[in-house]
């Protein structure tokens, strides 16, 4: 590209640039930033002592302090490891069982009713049993997260396989694909878009259940920071931990979306082209 072409392109507004036009993505920041600034001002002006609702500056200071002592990294890593292990196990089980029940109608009739029954149980209800079975340390927490992740992934895989276009499957049949080859070359790629959505839903639930697990008893992790902040009356620490959850959740979801995007470039869907 020549320099002149570059310069003629330069004035064009690029997507993602921080410009506050009505169509800018940065527009979404307006409300939270304004609210934060307003609250900061309210506390500084003495309209509130900010004891229960700490102003942004106090939260930032708490975050900095936690980061400097290395506590924040320690707790974040503990939580991340739990989510990773639980998510991995849940995805593995959900994918395998979902694929099995999707491909084999016998397996579906055999297994699916039981799983649908188990799905009706709120996952938190398993905690006492998991603690009895697996102890109060990591295993029971990871199991709870895995159960939470399992169901959306299982349902996603099963539903995606069942709804694969018969006409596309017939193309595979005409080329004499069957069994694993049909699953690998037709069913899997056709089910992929729905599968990715179910993975993201599963990851969201994984974050939800790690909080539940850590609130119910942990000596480390971001959830522990929440409980600790409550018991010692440190609201800034609670908000700081919440912010970390938001950040990590968004970050992991974006990573998952980015990692799977190249697999879905072929999609011809409403949302595929922005």
């Amino acid at each position: 590209m020549t320099a002149s072409a570059q310069s003629t392109r330069a004035p064009v507004r690029r997507r993602g640039a921080l410009k506050f036009g009505v169509r800018s993505p940065a527009l979404g920041l307006l409300l939270p930033v304004a609210l934060a600034l307003a609250w900061e001002a309210a506390v500084r002006l003495g309209w509130s002592d900010g004891r229960l609702v700490p102003p942004p500056s106090r939260i930032a200071a708490t975050l900095m302090a936690l980061a400097q002592t290395g506590e924040l990294a320690h707790h974040a890593v503990a939580t991340l490891l739990r989510v990773t292990a639980g998510f991995g196990l849940g995805v593995l089980a959900g994918t395998l069982i979902g694929a099995l029940t999707g491909v084999s109608s016998l397996a579906r009739r055999l297994i699916d009713p039981t799983l649908q029954g188990l799905r009706a149980i709120p996952s938190i209800a398993w905690v006492p049993l998991f603690v009895l079975w697996l102890g109060i340390f990591e295993a029971s927490k990871v199991a709870l997260i895995a159960v939470g992740v399992f169901f959306p992934v299982y349902l996603g895989v099963l539903g995606a396989i069942l709804s694969v276009d018969r006409k596309i499957v017939e193309v595979g049949l005409v080329f004499r694909l069957s069994g694993p080859a049909l699953a690998w070359r037709i069913l899997l790629p056709a089910a992929l878009p729905v599968y990715v959505v179910s993975l993201r839903a599963g990851l969201g639930l994984g974050w939800m259940f790690v909080v539940a697990a850590e609130i119910m008893g942990a000596s480390e992790g971001l959830g522990y920071l929440l409980v600790d902040g409550q018991q010692l009356g440190k609201p800034a620490q609670i908000v700081a931990a919440i912010l970390c959850f938001a950040l990590l959740g968004k970050l992991s979801d974006s990573l998952l979306a980015m990692a799977t995007a190249p697999l879905l470039r072929w999609e011809d869907a409403f949302g595929a082209r922005r």
């Binding site: 006409k167 596309i168 017939e170 193309v171 049949l173 005409v174 080329f175 004499r176 070359r185 037709i186 790629p189 056709a190 992929l192 470039r265 072929w266 999609e267 011809d268």
Partner: protein, 263 residues
């Protein structure tokens, strides 16, 4: 040699789609199957390509009965049915998976050249027009070099100009290796332009009503008197095949249904 012997098909919901259809197609011949809706045209092709099983009779290719999709039989459906997650080249090479990569590559390249889509090799199916997509489907079906190519109303979703283009194109491709073509269509012009024999099925259940051998010289002039004559013969036979059904169904006689069939 493709042979259908007293082939019948009754679906599980007891709809009788085909009854005692017998048909022999010589290697390299082009046969068109026409008929009103519900005459079992598509069912016939599904049976021949092994996607469904007949409930009576047998279908043989070179003497061997067909019970499952056969490596020597290819099909082009009414819709392109391209796999959206594969590039155009990936779709064309889909049936060559057991071939060495180098051979696959050259054969895909040749096939794409033949259908005039070399520059679209790396495109996604969503980026193709309807006519282009159907040409890719044609290339995909031809690339494994089938002895029999089945075509299920392959051009019916295309506009009139693209349709005639693709019909001519199909003939060029056919001339290359001369596979047997069995073309199901409701477009009588298409049947006459492409086929040497036109088989007319009567509906509910589908039966062979008449067979008209046209064997017009190739290349065919769509405006020649012979073309028109053949067309009128087919339309007349279609009329008769449908009238019978209409009288028994509705108790009334209509005469020029055949003309309406073009649409």
């Amino acid at each position: 040699m493709l042979g259908l012997d007293q082939v019948g098909k009754i679906y599980p919901n007891r709809v009788e789609a085909l009854e005692a259809v017998s048909l022999t197609v010589a290697p390299g011949a082009i046969v068109a199957v026409v008929g009103g809706s519900g005459c079992g045209k598509s069912t016939l092709l599904r049976l021949v390509c092994g996607l469904d099983q007949p409930t009576a009779g047998t279908i043989r290719l070179n003497g061997a009965p067909i019970q499952a999709p056969h490596p020597r039989i290819g099909i082009v459906f009414q819709e392109p049915r391209l796999l959206p997650w594969l590039s155009v080249a990936g779709n064309v090479g889909f049936g060559l998976r057991d071939r060495p990569a180098a051979e696959r590559k050259t054969r895909v390249r040749t096939a794409l050249q033949q259908v005039g889509l070399s520059e679209k090799a790396e495109a996604w199916p969503r980026e193709l027009s309807g006519g282009q997509a159907q040409r890719v489907a044609l290339a995909r079906a031809l690339v494994p070099r089938p002895d029999v190519l089945l075509l299920d109303e392959p051009f019916s979703a295309l506009d009139a100009f693209t349709r005639v283009d693709l019909q001519e194109h199909l003939l060029e491709l056919w001339a290359d290796r001369r596979p047997t073509l069995v073309l199901v269509t409701h477009d009588v012009d298409e049947a006459i332009a492409l086929a040497d024999r036109v088989v007319i099925l009567s509906p509910r259940p589908g039966r062979v009503f008449a067979e008209i051998v046209t064997e017009l010289p190739r290349p065919r002039d769509r405006h020649a008197a012979g073309f028109d004559l053949a067309k009128r013969r087919v339309l007349a036979a279609l009329d008769r095949s449908l009238n019978r059904a209409l009288i028994t169904d509705a108790g009334e006689t209509r005469t020029s249904v055949g003309a309406a069939l073009w649409w």
